[in-house]
Structure formats: C-alpha cells, structure tokens
Amino acid sequence: MSEALRRVMLVDDDEDIRRVAQLALEMVGGFEVRLCACGAEALAALAPFRPQLAVLDFMMPEMDGPALLGRLRGEPLGTDLPVVFLTARAQADEVERLRALGALGVIAKPFDPMAIAAELKALWEARPARGA
C-alpha cells in the first residue's frame, strides 16, 4: 500500500491507442509504461518488466482480455497482479462480469487521456490488501 504505482503494463491490439495511452500515462501520470500488442507478448514481458498493474484491452484477436487474465493468474508474477480492463462494452452487467473475474476496475473506451492516470492511481490505492 505504501508503495507508489510506477510500472504499468498496457496490452492493446490497436497501435494508435497504445501510443495515445502511453503518452497519457507517461506524460500525465509519470508512469513507466510497457506496451504489449498481444497476450503472448504480455506473458513474455511479465518477468523482465515486473509490472505493478496491468491494463488489458477487453477485445483482442487470438487471446482476449479475460483469457489473458486467466493466463496471468497461472504465472507466478501474475497471480496477484491487479488488472484493469479497457473496454468499449461498458454496460453495467458486463462491468459486473469483469469484476467477478477478478478485475480491479473497468475503464470505458474512449477514455479521457488527462484523467486516466489519476483513475488508475485511485484504483491502485483502493486495491484490497493481498494475503501474502
């Protein structure tokens, strides 16, 4: 809890969104950001980058957000990794479903680039303490 949010991994298949999000998180939020274009890349980057938080796009080809979340939970470094979903489907029941899967939060697309870093920080601060 005392630890500040620094390293954020962002997984999205759309290159432009990756770039915009990177600028928003780095320049507005001051985070260290690792961009991944797909789930496999994210799993591979887990050990070298050791993210504190992962932001996953909901809809991706091959491995979508929920599937990637399942794979992350199987990795030693991903078991307790807080995950926030970015989704274009922000209907109440879908948000519920993602929270039930273990998501820390859900941010709707299109997001506000000036506010997203603060939102992630707020979610990070409010994350439940993990039994370690």
Partner: protein, 594 residues
C-alpha cells in the same frame, strides 16, 4: 358469410311450426266434417222415422173410419130387416171397429198427433156406443146422429191436415239436412285437401332450404379447411387436456415426417374405413406429446391461464428431429362451451425464427458497429485530449480553438454511438437495469454537480429545490443518465443568463422530478413525437443543441422500465417543464435509501 347463413337458420326455426299449424288445421277440419256428417245422418234418420209414422197414422185412420162406416151400414140393414143374422153381423162389425180403434193411438209418441188421435178415437167410440144402444132398442133404429157425425168428420179432417203437414215438414227437413250435409262435406273436404296440399308444399320447401343450408355448411367447412390448410402456421383446437380436436395441414407437415401421418395416428389406431378427412377431425394427438416436455413446461402456465378464460401469448423454441431449432410464437385463445365455460382453446403457432434471427443480426450489427467506431474514437479523443491538455506544450490560440471544436464534436460522436447502442438495447429488451434503493434528491444533486460545467458553458445556472428525501428503487447510473439528459436539454434551450429549476418531490405513492426552463417552448407539431427515436425539432437552433435525437426516447425507455411515467408541460410565463414520476420506495422506509 353471416348474411348467407342467416336465412336458412330462420327458416329452420319457423318452418316446422308452420307445418304443424297447417296440418293441425286440416285435421281439425276433417274431424269437424266427420262430426257434421254423423250428426246430419242422425237427423235424416229421424226425419224418415217421423215420415213413416205419419204415413202409418194415416193408414190406421182410414182403417178405423172404414170399420165405423161398416158398423153403421150393418146397423141400418138390421134396423130395416130386424133379422137375428143381421143383428149378429152388426155386432161383429162393431167388435172389429172397437178392435181397430184400440190400435189407433198405439205406438204414437205423446204430442199433438196423439192428442188429436185420442179425440177422434173418443168421438168414434161414442158413435159406436150409440149404435150399440140403437141396436138394443125395440124395434131397432138407425141413429139419426148428424151432430156427432159432423164432429167426427171435423176431427178427421183436422187430423188428416195435421198428418199431411207433419209429413211435408219432415220431408222438407230431410231435404234441407241432405243439402246442408252435401255443402259442408264437399267444402270441408276441399278445404282440408287444400290445407294438406299447402302443407306438402311447405314441407318440400323446408327440405329444400335444409338441403341448401347443409350444402352451405359443407361449402363453408371446405372453405375453412382450405384457408387453415393454406396458412403456413399451426392452427388447432385443443380440449382441456390438450388433445387436438382440430388441426390444419401444417401440423402434418411439421410433425408428420415423410409419411404425413402424425405420431399419435398409428395405423392400428386408425378406425377401419374412415376417410382421412374424418380422421383428421378426431385425431387423439396431444400437444404435450407433439412439442415435448421442455416446451410444455414453458407453455403450461399460459395453458392454465387460457383455461381460466384469458388469452395468452408466449414464445418458445422447439427442435424438430434432425433440424435446427425453431423460434416459435404461440397464441392461445379460450374456446367456450354453450354455457360460457372454458372448454378448451384455439392454438396459433407461428415460426418466427427468421424474424428473431433478423433481430439478432440487427442487434449484433449495431453492437459491432458501435464498438468498432469506439476504437478510432478512442485514439482521436485521446490525441485531442492530450493536445488540449497541453501535454505537448502550449498551443497557439487558433490551434487551441480548433482542437476544442474537434474535441466537442468527438464527444458528440461518442454520445451518438452510446445512444444508438442504448436505444438498440432498449428496443430489443436487452437493457440491463441494476435496480437498488436510492434517494432521488441526492441523485439530482449529483447530476447538478456533474453538469455544472456544461451549464456554465451555456451561460445558464441550475437550482435544485429538494425539501426532503425521495426514496425510489432504480438503476442509479441509468437514472442519472435521465436526469443529466433532462438538465442538459434545459440548459441547451435556455436563454443566455437563464435559470434551470430542478425540483424533487417525495410523495407517499410517487416521487417526482421536474426540470423547468425558460426556453422557447416545444413547437406544437413536434409535441407528439418528442419522445420518439431520432426526434429533433426542426429549428435554427438545432445546431446549438448538438444532440443525437435519441436522448428523450432513451429517457422514456428507462423511466418506463422502472415503472414510471415521463412527460412535459408548458410552463406558465414561458418555457417548458419536463417531469418524470417513479413509484415511491417509502413503504420500505427512507432509512436505507442512499
């Protein structure tokens, strides 16, 4: 169809009555004629008896007179001869005359005739007595009895006249009776014959009418059968147990397989020598067996309701053997017996698979397009947001203005995409509401806070009048969407420097939220469709509003889904008040309202 069926129906009721009346009249007439004939024949017999009596009376009168005259002649001869043998001859004649007089009135019924006969008898006996006395005198003398003879002659004439008159009278009566009888029997019989002939004509027409009605019924049955058979839907009539009393050809096409026979109609169950048409009318198939237990589980509450007399409609899915599942829409209508009690139901089952498939494709299309639009919008909005936020360094004034225009329109596009998706969810019934207890007053305050910036950008201030809590059960996000929509609409249409007044009233039964503005009001032509989809008033201000035309239709959908009502009214002093009402949650207590 009703016009052609009514006349035979009326004839069917009235013809037997007419026939019975006519036949009854004819029979009564015949009986009357027979009774009259019987009575007249009796009268004729009486007349004949009277006639023969008069004739025999006359004969006896002649015989008596002749006997008295013979006695007188014998007395005269004895008076002249004074011989014993002449005396004996007189005595013999007198005795015979007395014997004849004894029979004169015998057998004559009491009455005028008998009276006159007895008078004459007495006179004649008196004459015989005087003759006897004259014969006994010495010497015997023939009686110069002129007075008594005159009396007896008068009486004799009277009697003759009477007998002749009664003879004539009885003959005249017999003639008239015979004449009357002939008249009555002839005309009575003729009238009865005419009535019977008429009855035969009426019966013949009645039969013809009945045959025509039967033909019409058969034709209408055939027509009905052809109509129901040509409809590409299941049409049937079931009894209380769900057994099909009637079904159209579609049942055989759906359930019969290649042979066309329904599962319930095995050959051994088919009665011998029965035509297929009749078989179709009395097939013992049960709807439950046709559709299977799964479908019946969905149907049975509706069947229950239709058996209680209420029409029902429902959708279910059914998978024919070796085919894809079908989406079916069923309508049940109660069938009542002649006393009005539900005796079964009519079934109409339509295959709506293509319709639901089209609806599903449309929803999927709208959803996909909306999501696909969001991806580029995310990049555009993000880039513009970072630019406007000065992340890349300060922008020249003109550039900042252009970026701001681009951002506003990007926001508008995002709203449009969201509204289209909401609207589609609303119309396909897929809008998910997370209903919880909340305070409308608190929610209104939050909506005002969130719209402060928007109101300020329009040069409008917003006030809230909420004297107390207003507990409702609603989806907070969706209700906030409604309030935000109404408030931002009011801001958009308010004049510069105007005030938008929001009010919340928490009643016992309902809670009400009002949003009043001092805008130009709603054009009369637009009022009818203001809550419709893509409804926007055509005015010079349309550009200023920047709306999608879906907002109010979504508001209405949400409020109605929450069990409330939404509307608007003209505001005294100009402007419009939009309002919605929701059922109050006060019964559960205001304490747990958040």
């Amino acid at each position: 169809m009703p016009g052609s069926e009514e006349p035979p129906l009326r004839r069917r009721v009235s013809f037997p009555v007419a026939i019975q009346l006519i036949l009854g009249l004819g029979l009564a007439l015949l009986a009357g004629v027979a009774w009259l004939a019987h009575r007249n024949i009796g009268t004729l017999a009486q007349s004949t008896a009277a006639e023969s009596e008069a004739v025999s009376g006359l004969a006896r009168l002649e015989a008596a007179l002749a006997a008295v005259r013979a006695s007188q002649a014998a007395l005269r001869r004895y008076a002249i001869s004074e011989r014993a043998e002449d005396r004996a001859a007189f005595a013999e004649a007198a005795r015979r005359a007395a014997a004849v007089l004894d029979t004169l009135a015998a057998g004559v019924p009491p009455g005028e005739g008998r009276l006159r006969l007895s008078q004459l008898e007495r006179t004649l006996r008196e004459r015989l007595a005087r003759m006897d006395r004259a014969a006994a005198a010495r010497p015997p003398a023939a009686p110069p009895d002129a007075a008594l003879e005159g009396e007896s002659g008068r009486q004799e004439l009277n009697l003759r006249a009477y007998l002749a008159a009664s003879l004539q009278q009885s003959r005249a009566q017999a003639r008239s009776t015979a004449g009357n009888s002939t008249f009555l029997i002839f005309w009575g019989t003729a009238l009865a014959a005419a009535l019977l002939a008429w009855a035969m004509v009426v019966i013949r027409r009645y039969h013809a009418g009945q045959e025509a009605a039967e033909r019409a019924t058969r034709a209408s049955e055939v027509r009905l059968r052809q109509i129901t058979d040509s409809v590409p839907a299941l049409i049937g009539e079931a009894d209380r147990e769900g057994r099909l009393v009637f079904h159209n050809r579609a049942f055989e096409q759906w359930f019969g397989g290649s042979g066309g026979a329904l599962p319930g109609m095995s050959p051994k169950g088919r009665p011998e020598g029965e035509s297929s048409g009749a078989q179709r009318q009395r097939s013992p198939i049960n709807l439950r067996e046709l559709f299977g237990a799964d479908a019946w589980r969905i149907a049975s509450p509706h069947v229950q309701s239709v058996l209680e007399g209420r029409a029902a409609g429902f959708k279910f899915s059914w998978t024919p053997e070796g085919e894809r599942a079908k989406d079916l829409s069923a309508q049940l209508a109660p069938r009542r017996d002649e006393w009005g009690a539900p005796a079964g139901y009519y079934v109409l089952v339509t295959d709506v698979s293509s319709l639901t498939e089209a609806q599903r494709l449309k929803a999927e299309f709208v959803s996909t397009v909306s999501h696909e639009l969001r991806t580029p919008l995310t990049s555009i909005r993000g880039s513009l947001g970072l630019l406007a936020g000065g992340v890349t360094g300060p922008l020249p004034d003109a550039a900042r203005e252009l970026v701001s225009i681009a951002m506003n329109n990007c926001e508008r596009l995002v709203r449009l995409v969201n509204d289209i998706l909401d609207s589609e969810r609303m119309s396909s019934g897929k809008l998910v509401l997370k209903v919880e207890a909340l305070d409308l007053a608190a929610l209104a305050a939050r909506a005002l806070r969130e719209n402060e910036g928007f109101a300020r950008s329009h040069g409008v201030s917003v006030t809230l009048d909420a004297p107390g809590p207003a507990p409702v059960r609603a989806d907070p996000d969706r209700l906030l969407q409604v309030v935000t929509n109404l408030v931002s609409n009011a801001c958009k249409f308010s004049p510069q420097g105007g005030v938008v007044e929001v009010g919340v009233e928490g009643g016992e039964e309902r809670v009400k939220l009002t949003v009043g503005d001092r805008g130009p009001g709603i054009p009369v032509a637009f009022r009818q469709r203001i809550f419709g989809r893509f409804a926007q008033a055509e005015s010079a201000d349309t550009r200023r509003s920047g709306g999608t035309g879906l907002g109010l239709s979504i508001c209405r959908g949400i409020i109605e889904r929450l069990g409330g009502r939404i509307g608007f009214e003209e505001r005294p002093g100009g402007g419009t008040t939009f309002w919605f009402e929701l059922p109050s949650d006060r019964a559960r207590g205001a304490g747990d309202a958040g």
